[in-house]
Symmetry: C2
Subunit: 258 residues, 2 copies
DNA sequence: AATTATTCCGTAAATTTTACGCATTGTAAA
DNA sequence: TTTACAATGCGTAAAATTTACGGAATAATT
């Protein structure tokens, strides 16, 4: 959706292709320089940051819609994606951003009963992606994008701050029962790297010795015969996820602390 | 909705009052005679059992809609209610039950583009209720109701068997992190009662001595000075939930096994 | 060659979970 | 009335897991 013509078609006829009243709003987590980041888009004219959301096509399975939207924005196909909550306790959140803005910012005439101005429930997804592999695609509505540190999220459009908070909470709870990291780290990683990742996500210190002991005992990672040459000091060994064990743990869950 | 006139109005004008494309489908758990039960309704004419679902009013917060629907069906106001998943991977599930049936069973003419025949996402909720306090309200669409044992659920309409399975799975996972029982048991209960409840939900045996030790150690229940006179044998003491501790555990979660 | 920062192996203490033994109590059967 | 039985309820010991931490080894820097 890059030309004004396409946008105009979307605004006035989008409800024929997409299901109205429901949007998908993904919180995309990436990990970079030992910080947990979230991808946000700046909406043109709205003077605000928001999640890279989208709509469900009328004959498209829900989970497929979520993957499509993620793929459109990040050009990634290998990612962890999970639904976590439906937000719909503020029925008026979209109307408030009235049709006036469409006219002022885009010069578009929008009827008061336009589908985009109606009440919309928001299905929250969270995604874990390899930061280095993401190439963000922007469109007509999108002015800019930026990876924000989770500890430094700006005020977001509508009630999306709540969405981000709940996504983070869900991620932190989930890390106790499911392995996390496959989609946040490069294929080969060092113990200090995955250790810092977990500390970052959980926001607390974890004893490195016990942590690696645990991961190896669970059979989730295996040591390789290579080392990573970091700038100074001793080269740490590289590790890799045991794909099978990892998948199994994703399915069955694990019961433990780190 | 008890008269044909009301039903006719709902079918033809319901989309003015309710949000189309989204339904709320609650899985209502009750506990009776040491069995975990689910409340299902038999839909008139459709020859099938289904969840007691409903729609969201256009200006009604989502969570309020869920409470309203539960209240309408069970006449309960004190219950545990939680959203757990949105189902929408079978886009055609409603269309299949075409408008023909409305005509055959109810004598209603339904246009092919009627809102009730369009694709509908289903927001799954699960509720825990005190079986003995429920009085089921049926309406024009509802022929019968029955509390089914969870181990004996019949084939349900649409893909609601998946909904029930996921609800049960969620309940079983959740019981490890949150106290459960306040809404499933009477106010005062015995150790054997709550013990059997947990065994029933988890579907496995739990050492009674360690189980009660745990609950008391967590400060979740307190012993009363009364006993319950069961038919035979020694009268067991009654216990009660510590409301404050219980609420706190609901908020913060507990990390343990039983 | 000495210094320093970091990796990484191992062990001991503390805590938690699990497994049961058995006295107690109240009803039912003999 | 006595005996038998079934279920409650308390306590303790063994097993397993988690937590804490000492210190050797390594590799770049000075």
């Amino acid at each position: 959706m890059n030309t004004l013509e396409e946008v105009n078609d979307f605004v006035h006829h989008g409800h024929q292709e997409y299901l109205p009243h429901v949007s998908i709003d993904p919180v995309i987590f990436g990990y970079y320089q030992q910080k947990l980041k979230i991808l946000l888009l700046r909406w043109k004219g709205l003077d605000g940051w928001g999640l890279p959301g989208g709509f469900i096509k009328r004959r498209e399975p829900l989970s497929q819609a979520a993957y499509r939207i993620l793929h459109e924005k990040t050009n990634l196909s290998d990612l962890f994606l999970q639904q976590f909550h439906v937000f719909g306790d503020s029925p008026y959140r979209v109307q408030e951003r009235s049709g006036r803005e469409y006219k002022e910012k885009f010069g578009l005439e929008v009827e008061p009963d336009n589908w985009l101005l109606e009440r919309t429930l928001s299905i929250g997804y969270f995604a874990l992606v390899d930061y280095s592999k993401v190439s963000v695609t922007t469109d007509y509505f999108t002015e800019d994008y930026y990876w924000f540190d989770v500890s430094d999220i700006p005020p977001l459009l509508f009630d999306q701050n709540e969405t981000v908070e709940k996504a983070l909470l869900t991620l932190r709870l989930q890390i106790y029962h499911q392995p996390i990291g496959y989609n946040l780290l490069p294929e080969k990683f060092t113990i200090p790297e995955i250790h810092t990742l977990y500390e970052t996500i959980l926001g607390k210190e974890l004893d490195q010795r016990n942590f690696s002991k645990k991961l190896i005992a669970l059979g989730l990672i295996k040591k390789l015969d290579e080392r990573r040459s970091i700038g100074a000091h001793r080269s740490p060994f590289l590790y890799q996820f045991e794909k099978e064990q990892y998948e199994q743990a994703l399915q069955e869950g694990i019961m433990h602390t780190y």
